[in-house]
Amino acid sequence: MLTFLVRRMIGAVLVCLAVTFIVFLIFIVVPGGDPAQRIAGKNATAQNIINIRHSWGFDQAFYVQYWNMLKKMFSGDLVSYTSQQNVVDQIIQGMPATFSLTIGAGIIWLFFGICVGVISAVTAGRLSDRLITVLALIGISMPVFWLGIVARYYFAEGGVATIFPDGEYFPISENPAQWFWHLLLPWVVLAVLFIGFYGRVLRGNILDAINEDYVRTAKAKGLAPRRILIRHVLRTSLIPIVTLFGLDFAGVLGGGAILTETVFDLHGVGQYAAQSINNFDLPPIMGVTMYGAFFIVTFSVLVDLFYAYLDPRIRPT
């Protein structure tokens, strides 16, 4: 088990390194032209560009450039030349909002996704299943930016009633109740898409698992239907959901909820990325890319470990 863990972690570090190289290729090598000018931003002075060219080493060999980029990224020296702000500081500032959004939404979408999947699988073909299927498809098809704005209009700006505060993140350390109240709408809006998707996937998994031979064995043993469903059907059907959840959760944690964060003006990492993209501000985009990659890689290791726990067949001996 330990060797498995160590091997998996070494692998994770290598993947992160590979991502840095891809970032280097995409942002610096591939576009052509003068990388210093691109990194400097839209309104850079000539002197600025010369300084950047020198400090990033764009006048030297590519491995020197790559090394300089790594140094800047991992020492926390990455600076946005447009806003003169330190990228790492900005990301750290955005993290509480992003983490709060992800954890709350994650709990909601996992819980309701499983409920929706189980209910529609158990009642497969009946009215409730069809109703849920339609609702799930609507949930999957509704774009977040639209749903978010509609939700704000109706529930935060007096369209129906002004129940919720209109956007912005409220730090949990100052007032947990306000924090919760501010985040409830973004949580639900972000979760809606995932609930529909997870419900559909789980429904399919359950309907497959019900036909497995070992479920027939469980019936032949004389177990109660509820026990068969929970212990024998659901247990195996949830294994693929673990992968989905791990990677989706990591994606949102890594700043992937660009739309939700922007619509609700949460000032999280995703919104920071969105603003930087609007401003053609390369250093923050590079920073957020690495930050996101870190979470994806970390969570895929966690998913693998959890998988080994869930499925003894792949458990290393």
């Binding site: 064995t217 019936k219 032949a220 004389g222 212990r231 195996t236």
Partner: protein, 342 residues
């Protein structure tokens, strides 16, 4: 004569499908006595598995239609509720399935799965159930049962998994053990061991056995009676001896001819019954085996009843052919030499 343990009378199982009504089992009747071994033999789609699963209540569903009765201990198993049926499954009637590779849940330890069966029917604590599981694994011949009880199914070989399945099926000491092709998925060397094990354990546990197979050779030694099924019907039934040495249905001859034999000169090719089993939606008129039977004649347009046509009591068949004609002409087919009418 002892009261039969299980009485199946005029059982029919039909499934409504998009293509029409599938008559999987039609008018099957048989008795099973305590300690008896009944072999049900037939090709895929002959209705043998559906018969067994129906006894277990495993074919229940919105599209299933049942007829006749399955009487066990004064109750009709077709009429009782799903909840009542749970008390019979595993407890009164145990079942083992064809493929031991997929019949055990891969994510639970073998011992847990056996304990689960015990605890479904008896008030035993976890440790007691575990002790019983170890004991059962020992009885089915698993070496080191104390440590193997904590193995996962994938750590068992195919033969061991089938042994574990047998341990699970016998865990609550059922009166009836149904074995649905228990050896089909196993190596030939293991097959004989499993059959022998079932034969031994049925005496230890005082259970009756229904052994389902497509291979007459498998049940030759162990079965007291044999029932040959074709297209959802019983086409021949009798004591094992009689069915083997005085088979009355040309279909049975074909099955006998399909067994590779080492004690006879080897035919150029192993015998196979021509054609495929009929559709269960639009079955042929008359005798269902008629389209494939080398001896079919006009009378076969009308379906013969299952009745005794030979001297031996209890030996029934569904064939219009004259008994003496059959005794004279069946030799070639049974020897696997010819598919043509002699």
């Amino acid at each position: 004569m002892a009261e039969p343990l299980l009485e199946v009378e005029d059982l029919s199982v039909h499934f409504a499908t998009e293509d029409g009504l599938v008559r999987a089992v039609d008018g099957v009747s048989f008795d099973l006595k305590r300690g008896e071994v009944l072999g049900i033999v037939g090709e895929s789609g002959s209705g043998k598995s559906v018969t067994a699963m129906t006894i277990m209540g495993l074919t229940r569903g919105v599209n299933a239609r049942f007829g006749g009765s399955v009487r066990y201990a004064g109750k009709d198993l077709l009429q009782i509720s799903d909840t009542e049926m749970q008390d019979y499954r595993g407890n009164e009637i145990g079942m083992i399935f064809q493929d031991p590779m997929t019949s055990l849940n891969p994510v639970y330890r073998v011992g847990e799965q056996i304990s689960e069966a015990i605890r479904a029917h008896e008030k035993v604590d976890k440790r007691g159930a575990r002790r019983r599981s170890v004991e059962l694994l020992k009885q089915v011949g698993i070496p080191n049962p104390e440590s193997r009880v904590d193995d996962f199914p994938h750590q068992f070989s195919g033969g061991m998994r089938q042994r574990a399945m047998i341990a699970m099926a016998l865990s609550c000491n059922p009166a009836i053990l149904i074995a649905d092709e228990p050896t089909t998925a196993l190596d030939v060397t293991i097959q004989a061991q499993i059959i022998e094990l079932i034969g031994r354990l049925k005496d230890d546990f005082d259970s009756a056995v229904i052994m389902i197979t497509h291979d007459l050779g498998v049940v030759a030694d162990i079965a007291d009676d044999i029932m040959v099924m074709y297209a959802g019907r019983v086409v021949e039934r009798g004591a094992t001896r009689d069915v083997f040495y005085d088979p009355q249905m040309p279909y049975t001859w074909g099955l006998l001819g399909s067994i590779p034999r080492l004690d006879r000169p080897r035919p150029e090719r192993l015998y196979s019954i021509k054609g495929t089993p009929p559709s269960l939606i639009n079955a042929p008129r008359g005798c269902k085996f008629r389209p494939r039977c080398p001896h079919a004649f006009e009378k076969c347009q009308e379906e013969p009843r299952l009745e005794q046509r030979v001297e031996t009591p209890g030996h029934l068949d569904r064939c219009w052919l004259d008994v003496d004609f059959k005794r004279e002409h069946r030799g070639a087919m049974i020897a696997g030499e010819s598919t043509e009418a002699a």
